[in-house]
Symmetry: C2
Subunit: 585 residues, 2 copies
């Protein structure tokens, strides 16, 4: 594994230094797996993933066992009656599977083969000895397999090869050392639920086509509203395709609540509107304003304090200023857990201002909303019960598989009035069941993916106290990281004081920069450190963590912990790895 | 199974008549499965689904085999080394699974147990002897299981019971006689791909976190644009959460193209806009206009002819009228495959008008776009290559698992300019790879679900010719249905002539209504026929097909065929079933 010139700032010895500590090779993983799992299971797992020989090959397909050898044999004794029968895939096509007549056995065997590949991938993903990523540049990856689509069909053998190749180059988001995004980790019950959801393959628009899922959404949204603190869990809500869309829904509802005529007549019927959010808030607030025809200039960014929290006095000042200019303030989006700093805006003070000026209060808790489930940490969202709407993404801090984002709304009926179009081919009024369960017309979408079952089943499996424990543990780990580096030589914190969420923002200063006296030159060099360390992390595949600049602050690491697989040792590893990869810079 | 008073118009003997022809009981299905699958596999499938004894029980959990008996034994010989080891789930919790230390075997065994339940469900779903739906009213279903969320965790045994209960009351969307929606059927390769997608559990925003999926989206969008007829497949596009959102994207782009200042300044900076679409178009056009601040009144509905196609002369007339009133025409949405009639608007004539008046031409091919893959039927979309944007939902006619919707855009770079917000924590400009693959900033969403892999893998498995054959077969079946009923006694077609898509719209007139002379009374009675037959279909669980009124036309059946499992016999069955369930009305 050679080190690229690009990867270093000054020298090119990082690769050589690092090589000895990089994760063990796939072959070594196979040997370890063979010892760990008895009865040949370890080597079977290894063969399924084809990690034994592919590492030196540019073409993953080239080194696969010949079709029919690994594939199609369950590995069981002949008297076995497991669902995997002896079927060879090199002569079979998708048209041999169900609904083909007599496709039952072939289908079960094919799906079982895929599942075996997935199970092996899962076990490997949690193993710290494996790489988080087997990185290749886009132009390299394009050449590593034939990804092009053809006129002619491929055999099922080729399909299995494609599955293996896809996983080989995928990021192992379940890996205990994957910290790159706010959504990390892989929950086994959540995964099982997502597999079931795919199998049920239906849509959320009516009770008619999704009876159980519609009821589970009803039950779960009520529970979430109850946790927010709305009386008897009353209100409304929806699971939407991500936090950005949930925030857009909130802005749409706020506008409709103040000016219901906007639905028919558009923005030309309403005065110029103004929305307010912290300068540290998520970009989706501006994106939503652009889409809804409000315009990004009508989103007024409120100053945040040093730790990233919105300053209420500045909010009030800007609301008054906007009113004086003839704008109508209609929407304040407070953030509960900002993306970079993890800051929680002061919700009680903000709600006082919103009430005073009659403005809709939204809480973007996409990232921090889950802290409501923790008795220890929910005080950070005190005042959330005063909000008109709340975004809460269980796919982030609760580790529900992607995607799972909820918008909760305090007022009942508003979503329906805002969005309904009464399509008579879908929402027939003369059906034989209670139509209040046909909730599709309150959505912006027509067909809506079933995102509820994975959250519901995980909640069932963990209980509220299980989610609480999982969340508390992530916060404990981040506190451990903060305490470890805040006074450590070579580190500077981006803001003072203990972080409120699991975000720990810091600079690592390599020895060559640490003592530089020229402040400008130091800053310039420091800006390049995080990108190079990150690039090296990806090349070695040892861990992944995010970085960015913010305002006048040069590139810094933003460590976040939402991965339930992470331990104190993984935090130690991260620090050692940053120092190992960055010492020469 | 008693017939409710509600279910009949005049008599209550339908239930008694129908009982003998309803699908065989779950017990009978088990007996048949036991004969079909050797080596005990059939009875194992049956036990997994727990269909043997649950039919008379109000609580599906009550009649399950005791924990530890069915669960946790792979059923194989002792020397078997399949991934299912002997694990009992009644004492295990989700915290015993990965990432728990030594959680490997328990995890694989648990996931394998879930997969066995899913495999059994799949096999059962394709079996015509089983019900499409085991229908219960919402208040009944709420009482059939404990769906409430608790503070305390449940055992994995309880989780498996919840999976079985959820599937027991789910709609079998793979069933060969499920015709209820535009999205029906279940593709086995698509399902495998969706399971893999869930396992990879990542997001589409950057190459960094989804290298393979980002490349596959690139390859597939290019191929789709190529099929549309854009030179060298050039252009742009995105997979979005459904056709409604794809259409909203198109409207957003059209507005931005004409008035780029709208992004910053909002609708107050632009003149009053007007959008045009057929009176038969999908409700998402109006929904989008409401959301984007354009207003539903600015969506001008153009007359359609008797078969549901937009009349170009009326489009031109209404554009001129709007201009005279001071509106700026900016967007025409032609429909390629309307929701109810399946009509294809005349795209060439529409494009001529769009060019003449400088208006963005969008083609909503959510339902009909897939006909582009058929050499026999693609002429119905002649002129689509002149469009500025096209919505095309592979989750409908191509039977890709939900959701999979693409928006294709002719102009490169426009999406990026329209939607980007330059979030520096996500789209860092100093990364070490080609940033043109970080496509997240052109989306309205931030995190975006991976919808590409299931389409790509299916395309790989079938080839373009495989999709073509599947689509042609559905159209052949609908032509068979049309020919069968167009002159049959008791049927009236909603519009004359052969349908262009697989939509066949018709009234069934029971003998008691067929010869009524009072036209008003006849119409009134006929309006109630389809809802009652549909309700009975759901009670007996034999088949499902949609109905609706349209304009001054009373409730009629809209049969659509996108289900690759359907055969000529299933069409025959549908007709027999409608007559059986409706003869007494």
């Amino acid at each position: 594994m050679a080190s690229h010139g690009f990867w270093s700032l000054g020298g090119d010895n990082a690769g050589a230094n690092a090589g000895s500590q990089s994760p063990s090779t796939p072959r070594a993983w196979c040997q370890a797996a063979a010892q760990k799992f008895p009865g040949g299971l370890g080597s079977k797992l290894c063969a399924l993933l084809n990690v034994g020989d592919a590492e030196k090959s540019a073409d993953p397909a080239a080194k696969l066992p010949p079709p029919g050898e690994a594939a199609g044999t369950c590995g069981c004794n002949k008297s076995c009656n497991c669902t995997k029968a002896a079927v060879g895939f090199s002569d079979l096509y998708s048209t041999d599977l169900l609904p083909a007549s007599d496709g039952d056995t072939k289908t079960m065997t094919f799906l079982q083969e895929v599942v075996d590949i997935l199970l092996a991938y899962i076990v490997e993903s949690f193993d710290r000895e494996t790489k988080v990523i087997d990185f290749h540049y886009p132009n390299q990856l394009l050449q590593m397999n034939n990804w092009e689509l053809q006129d002619e069909p491929a055999t099922l053998d080729d399909i299995l090869i494609s599955c293996r190749a896809t996983l080989k180059y995928a990021i192992k988001t379940a890996h205990p050392r994957y910290f790159n995004q706010l959504s990390t980790g892989l929950d086994m019950v959540g995964l099982a639920a997502d597999w079931l959801t795919s199998t049920a393959n239906t849509n959320m628009f009516t009770y008619e086509v999704a009876p159980v899922f519609v009821l589970l959404e009803y039950v779960t949204l009520k529970k979430m509203r109850d946790i927010i603190g709305w009386q008897d869990g009353r209100g409304d809500g929806i699971f939407s395709p991500g936090g950005a869309i949930s925030n857009m829904y909130a802005m749409l509802l706020a506008r409709f609540k103040m000016f219901p005529e906007v639905k028919e007549k558009g923005m030309s019927s309403v005065p110029r509107l103004a929305a307010f959010t912290s300068e540290h808030s998520h970009f989706s607030i501006k994106k939503g304003a652009a889409a809804l025809g409000i315009g990004t200039e009508s989103v007024i960014c409120i100053k945040a304090d040093e730790s990233g929290k919105l300053i209420p006095a500045d909010l009030e000042r800007r609301i008054l200023e906007a009113k004086q200019k003839g704008f109508v303030p209609f929407f304040v989006s407070a953030t509960a857990g900002t993306t970079v700093y993890g800051a929680f805006d002061p919700l009680i003070a903000i709600s006082d201002i919103c009430r005073k000026y009659g403005v809709w209060m939204h809480v973007d808790g996409a990232w921090g909303g889950s802290l409501l489930m923790s008795r220890k940490h929910r005080w950070k969202l005190d005042g959330v019960e005063r909000a008109n709407s709340v975004t809460w993404n269980p796919h982030k801090m609760m580790s529900v598989p992607l995607q799972c984002s909820a918008l909760l709304v305090r007022e009942e009926g508003l979503m329906q009035n805002c969005n309904q179009m009464h399509a008579c081919y879908l929402f027939q009024q003369d059906k034989h069941y209670d139509l209040s369960y046909d909730t599709g017309d309150k959505a912006l979408q027509c067909g809506r993916h079933v995102d509820i079952f994975k959250l519901w089943l995980m909640w069932r499996a963990k209980g509220t106290i299980g989610f609480e424990a999982q969340i508390d543990k992530c916060l404990e780990l981040s506190e451990y990281l903060y305490n470890k580096i805040k006074d450590r030589e070579g580190y500077e914190m981006v803001f003072n004081g203990k972080p409120q969420h699991t975000n720990v923002c810091f600079w690592y200063l390599p020895p060559g920069i640490r003592y530089m006296e020229d402040k400008e030159e130091r800053k310039k060099r420091l800006h390049k450190v995080a990108p190079v360390i990150k690039a090296r992390m990806m090349e070695y595949g040892t861990t992944m963590v995010s970085y960015q600049p913010q305002g006048d602050k040069v590139n810094f690491f933003r460590m976040v912990i939402s991965n339930p697989a992470a331990t104190f040792e993984d935090i130690d590893f991260l620090i050692e790895e940053i120092e190992r990869l960055g010492q020469d810079l």
